[in-house]
Symmetry: C2
Amino acid sequence: MSQNIEEIVKKCHQSSRVISQLDNAEKNQILNTIADLLEENIEEIEEKNKIDMENAEENDLSEAMKDRLLLNQERIEKMAKAVREIAELDDPVGDITDYRQRPSGIKVARMSIPLGVIAMIYESRPNVTSDAAALCLKAGNAVVLRGGSEAFHSNTAIADVITEALEQNDVPGEIVTLIPTTDREAVNELLSMNQYVDLLIPRGGEGLIRFVDENSHIPVLKHYKGVCHEFVDKEADFDKAMRMLIDGKVSRTGVCNALETLLVQEDVAEDFLSLVQENEHLQDVKIHGCERTQEIMSDIDSATEEDYYAEYLAKEIAIKVVDDFDEAVDHITKYGSGHTDVIATEKIDRGNEFLKRVNSAVAMVNASSRFSDGGEFGLGAEIGISTTKLHAYGPMGVEALTTQKFVVLGEGTTRHDIV
Amino acid sequence: MSQNIEEIVKKCHQSSRVISQLDNAEKNQILNTIADLLEENIEEIEEKNKIDMENAEENDLSEAMKDRLLLNQERIEKMAKAVREIAELDDPVGDITDYRQRPSGIKVARMSIPLGVIAMIYESRPNVTSDAAALCLKAGNAVVLRGGSEAFHSNTAIADVITEALEQNDVPGEIVTLIPTTDREAVNELLSMNQYVDLLIPRGGEGLIRFVDENSHIPVLKHYKGVCHEFVDKEADFDKAMRMLIDGKVSRTGVCNALETLLVQEDVAEDFLSLVQENEHLQDVKIHGCERTQEIMSDIDSATEEDYYAEYLAKEIAIKVVDDFDEAVDHITKYGSGHTDVIATEKIDRGNEFLKRVNSAVAMVNASSRFSDGGEFGLGAEIGISTTKLHAYGPMGVEALTTQKFVVLGEGTTRHDIV
């Protein structure tokens, strides 16, 4: 087996040179073929998905997991649509920036280029197979895919379609390589292939991400968790603050950009928290409040240290009354996860101070944390949200799958005089 | 000891918030104080350096190593000058780019911010202590320094000056922390402090870099080696190609941007290599040639597979005759180190093709590889040259010590309608 996985990943690596040299039209042609073939093969994909669904039934997977696993005509059509949308993005490769003419006579610029080979390790949702492949291809990268074992047959069916699309366009099918086994040992082998893989992107729970990070020396783009805060400043507009709170906490709870903690400045705590208590949208939200919150709101739990670190992903929130702006920033720095944090304030200076001092991936003034998303930010489809600072920080579009080299033009220019 | 190192690095981490919030004038004030105090303390630093020099004598260090270790008035003044030059660079923090107004009503932009805490692990040259500290400070970062044990007393003297300069400016001295021991175990502990260190930068031999990379899960900026190529295309201008070869190979040999391999297209091999044979600047360069090279040049060694991978760092070069452009690019891709590669050609299309296809950190047309340097590229002082693609690729200035967060402005804007 060992030999096999290494051979497979090595072939993917070799094929990366082909995809890295294609122009935008050629890459889009491949993407559109993938979309067409996904639609043409709906029945076959559904059939393979049935095997996974039957196994899920046998293995007693939760209804939520089964829902994530299920593929039907509508969902496969949506996958095809997503691939076509990725084709329509600007080419992230070949951009020239930072042009400078230097006193020595050379001309220097930066040119964006693909990273090389990206390995995606992900759980359950089979649509990640086509989404991730399409994003990597658009950025000129080859990709190794390792999906969850529960989705193995579905992922294989989708990967087969992608291979066919690549081959129809006369490029090696290995450019998109699905690891053809559910053997866990294969993951460990993949993590050790520094020489063939340039970047690892784990998508799934915190456990998966930590496992990947701790067991590999390949760079990892990490998205740990979203413990997002809204701070209601003493000069907040209550109406705006309340709408942001409702949107952030209850419009969708299972997502990383949902709010998990509300901080309220002492001066307005009584007034604002009374409104929270009464608001119809928030009636079924379970509240963990600090002592001062408990003095204002009735029928709530007391907040523990763990509550402030918690990513509830549910109709549940921690609330803390803070003395001032500094305490709010300190709280966010200590308990936050570097994802997205928001201030509600009508004071422009305080808003700017918040943007400056909160070094989360996304800092917002008077906007809902739920906007923290590649699509909403105009980056196009999103490959993930990085909560660590190296290479990319925050929502990552295809651009995050490229790097920049320097290009230099001279006229036989030398650094020292040659006589 | 274990407790100690963790405490020390933790304090540095805590102090990073202070430096991250200073404006450019405040940071420059600190840098200029460092420069002043370096000059005021020349004698004290020289005295401490004497201890290292005596130890070097006792331990039989090579003359080259002793030369790197030595500090005198001129060298200390040069260190002060370098710090002042770093102060004069543009502030890399707080830059706003990529501003977009989105259909939802939010305004999105990116803002450059410090990385946090950077750990530098380096060998011999004590000037790295002030250079690295100044670059990290300029980018708003705290820094942990771990120099070579042979330079321990010199580094301590310089770090003491920096601490004093920080404290004179009312910020914590811990912002620049020198690990106060030569104990090797301290390095291992430092490498394990993911929670306090955002980036590792090893500076030194390949062994040090691999050690750091293999023993830490903190992101590492890696500079492995410079196996730089010059390819003389069949439509090269021989005069330019020759000047670039001389500058690249003999102007300075012990540097990573020196040439290590010459590739010559078959069509012009006989003519160009005859000129190489005769050139007075190249008489004492040891040549390892391929079979075809050996047919043209006399008195040369034959090139082995290892020669093509070699970073000689000496008056030594591998020469290979290639059939065509494709073979040259393939050779560079296979044997190169992703540092800097150069084509000599008068055909603009072929030059552009080279820039496009060679994905080394630096690709050049008709310019000497010796230009591959942060200062020459206009980046200001250089913290290193990355030969891996994540985060930074190629010469790195202060900008590489920052990242970008997203900042968002709304007017109580929500992603979903709240009624």
